[in-house]
Symmetry: C2
Subunit: 212 residues, 2 copies
């Protein structure tokens, strides 16, 4: 990767690009050589001009009437989305969700390398899940620094969310991936990504009730 | 619950309300009796007038200078968000994420009652996780209908996402909760909620690279 400061890409584009990637990976697996934005548009129900605009963010050009080379497009998408670099991460809270993330081999394909987990339960210390060791939470600061982890994944009960976030930032992580429904606050320089699955439920229920 | 057709609440409000709920639940657990929108605003860094506007969606009134009764506000938020009704759901794909969802006791507190799971792996049929049985995927249609499940949770590998969605809709579910990065399509009446955790990673990485 080049090391210039990258531009802030609008979030809607960053949310669409992984759809294209998932589709292009399917095409590569079934041996397709080329794909056009029209074909992606038809399959994913996204406007073709929107797709062409999104893909113009990448350093790739399609060929007239043939489209993009599938393996190259997959590679460029992965690179652009940061999935080909390794980001060191720790999990705090080795409950069912924390364990599932540790065991999800998919995350490393998406550039997330979980190196350690922490929990307050002494019975969990010494265990490992998906090959990732669990340590007592008291060792967190030292181990995060030692490992040079930049991402802290928060899967603790909601009442410990903010104090966990504070401790992770203090230990040096640059980004918090918050799976609790609590709205965290942190210094300006810290990135917070909220993935509260419960909030998604509220939206889904409302759409179901209102008949869409 | 009343059975009138509910209004379509704007998604940003539906995403903020669970933050208020998580905070109000904390307050109730620590024994606080009243909370004002000013206090919520200070704690969650959301504009106080925005909070007042969001809470005006609920059938509740705060008292001047005292604010809202904490247990009542919690109850009204849970009710409004659909968390106090039971929505029957099935999980398709009992891999690490599927199992984690089955074992997550939090989901039932948020109104989601997972009644069965399905997997193509014959070794998983007959197992149960968090008390929820796993069945062969061939039994899906019959069991979804029998259970009257309205929500289908998709945690299969990406190449099976669309065919799983089609089968769930055919079996009668009204909403699909898609955890794969694939962009599903379905008939107009079907609600699709996308929770691709990998898409969140792309946004987080970009924010980290660009120095926020």
């Amino acid at each position: 990767m080049t090391d210039f400061q990258r531009d802030l890409i609008p979030e809607p584009a960053l949310r669409r690009l992984p759809w294209y990637l998932a589709y292009v990976t399917l095409l590569r697996e079934r041996g397709d050589e080329f794909v056009s934005s029209t074909q992606i548009s038809r399959e994913l129900k996204v406007d073709a001009s929107q797709i062409a605009k999104d893909l113009s963010l990448l350093d790739i050009r399609g060929k007239t009437r043939i489209g993009y080379e599938v393996p190259l497009l997959e590679h460029k998408l992965e690179e652009f989305l940061g999935f080909r670099r390794s980001h060191r991460a720790v999990v705090v809270g080795a409950g069912s969700l924390g364990k599932a993330l540790m065991q999800d081999s998919g995350l490393s394909r998406y550039g997330l390398n979980i190196v350690a987990a922490f929990d307050t339960d002494p019975a969990l210390a010494g265990m490992s899940y998906g090959g990732i060791p669990v340590y007592p939470v008291g060792e967190m600061t030292a181990r995060v620094k030692e490992a040079g982890a930049t991402v802290g994944i928060i899967t603790v009960p909601v009442e410990h969310a903010q104090s966990t976030a504070d401790a992770l930032v203090e230990a040096g992580v640059k980004a918090l991936w918050n799976f609790t429904p609590f709205r965290l606050s942190a210094n300006d320089g810290v990135i917070i990504s909220n993935t509260s699955i419960y909030a998604h439920l509220a939206v889904m229920y409302n759409r179901m009730e209102s008949g869409k």
